[in-house]
Amino acid sequence: MAKGEKKVAIVGVGQSKFGRRMDASYRELCFEATKKAFEDSGLTPKDIQYSVIGVAGAEFLVGQLSPAAPAADYVGLNPQGSMRVEAACATGSAAVRTAYTTILSGLADVVMVLGYEKMNEVPTGRAIEALGRGGDVQWEFAWWGTTFPAFYALMATRHMNQFGTTEEQLAKVAVKSHKYGAMNPYAHMQKAVTLDEVMKSRVIAWPLKLYDCSLITDGAAAVIIASASVAKKISDTPIWLCGLGCASEGEYFAAKPSYVGVTSAVEAGRQAFKMAKVEPKDIDVADVHDCFTIAEIMALEDLGICNKGEGGKFVEEEQTYVGGKLPTNVDGGLKAKGHPIGATGVSMAIEIAKQLRGEADAGRQVPKAETGLTHNVGATGQYAYVHIYSR
């Protein structure tokens, strides 16, 4: 169990069904998530003293500038004050960290972290465009049409060339994630897939195929975070956030320090392990940033779960399944649960809280999980957040 200090805890969690949610507005998805978090914690909106709202691309995706205020209002969090947090695909974890620092500052004891993204109200090409503009627009995107599948494909090609990682190993990440996504009632795709189906799916950016890619998902996720004194009164099972790490790097992809890993995520992991006073082998369950199958393989390596270059083998040996060395993304991950950008990191925190409480769905609960980790990467490492939780 993590030996880091128990100062701040998750006391309530809830999320909307992830998916192509053309039945609901972003505000209504936020309501679904926060209602469940209130029910889970026994709190009401008036108990929340501040809200941190993570949303990455609302300007492009729903046309709303300053997208925190409408969400905060719809879920009854006025007049306590709110802010928007943005760190590309790591937005949700940046919001969790902001809640942590807000509580430790003493300015609030109970903070709502709400992440959301509504991605399906624009055509797919425009969603890819909006995300692609999370890279270097002036020097890369405008010249070469660099999309996120393309960036991660560049990493996959190099990883395959340098370490002998195979397209089948990438596909096995998807097979595992879909297996568990099928057990998660909140997942976007609740459907198992075969290795053959993944391998034969159409190419998006070679070597990445359709089933190597995370989903363009609508969804919202909420966690209520409290100081130690309040958390112990509210909850019998507070989940302590006892290790935090974050790091950053430049956006011009060709100038990255590594094409076979995310350098900032290595540093974020190092910080989080040090603060929580644990080692990679002590982690019982993890949600890592599998925006593409290669990303899960690199995350396992970058966190020190296995050596650099051995992630493909680790996956092939099914060490990422429940019962393996480190059950990873057994909620379906970004791959099958879905990747509503601003909600993703918050949903990772929810999954780890449920796992550590022993409340995960049948078939995907990790037995006796005491220490969990979230690993959330923004863009291609411009932002990296690693959090370690303990019962």
Binding site: D136, A142, W143, W144, G145, A153, L154, W206, Y259
Partner: protein, 142 residues
């Protein structure tokens, strides 16, 4: 919703990268030269070019012309372009490590996807494009 604006030809252009103190980069492209910058104080190389050194905060920078020769570090065959690149269909994106050191993002041209190999030798080629003016790609040099 997109930040694109109409170009003189009336086409939608993906963005406007030309407003910068590093405008010499675009002038050099017109002269079929690929250039970057280097800090005269600490020697840091910048590609894409920066006129300010982020390491020591010096503005004393020099322009460096590259040979345009290098080696392919990695690549992808992108079949799913963003909205503003839809007219290009499938394109091969690569990273080329120049013999002078810096690595550049580029498209690989005049080569079939199945012929592309990591480590292959490449050289720069300059082309005119409606959106970007003179643009560079890389082609095989063997």
């Amino acid at each position: 919703m997109s930040t694109s604006k109409p170009s003189p030809s009336g086409q939608q252009q993906p963005t406007q990268p030309f407003v910068t103190k590093a405008g010499k980069f675009f002038e050099a492209l017109k002269e079929k030269k690929l250039v970057g910058t280097k800090c005269r104080k600490c020697g840091t190389n910048y590609f894409p070019p920066r006129v300010d050194c982020s390491k020591d905060f010096s503005e004393d920078m020099e322009w460096v012309e590259y040979s345009g020769e290098g080696e392919l570090v990695t690549y992808t065959v992108n079949t799913t372009p963003p909205e503003s690149f839809s007219k290009y269909g499938t394109y091969i994106i690569g990273i080329v490590k120049l013999i002078e050191g810096p690595a550049v993002m580029t498209w690989l041209k005049d080569i079939k996807p199945e012929e592309v190999k990591v480590g292959m030798k490449l050289k720069v080629e300059f082309v005119e494009s409606s959106e970007m003016g003179t643009k560079y790609n890389f082609v095989r040099s063997d």
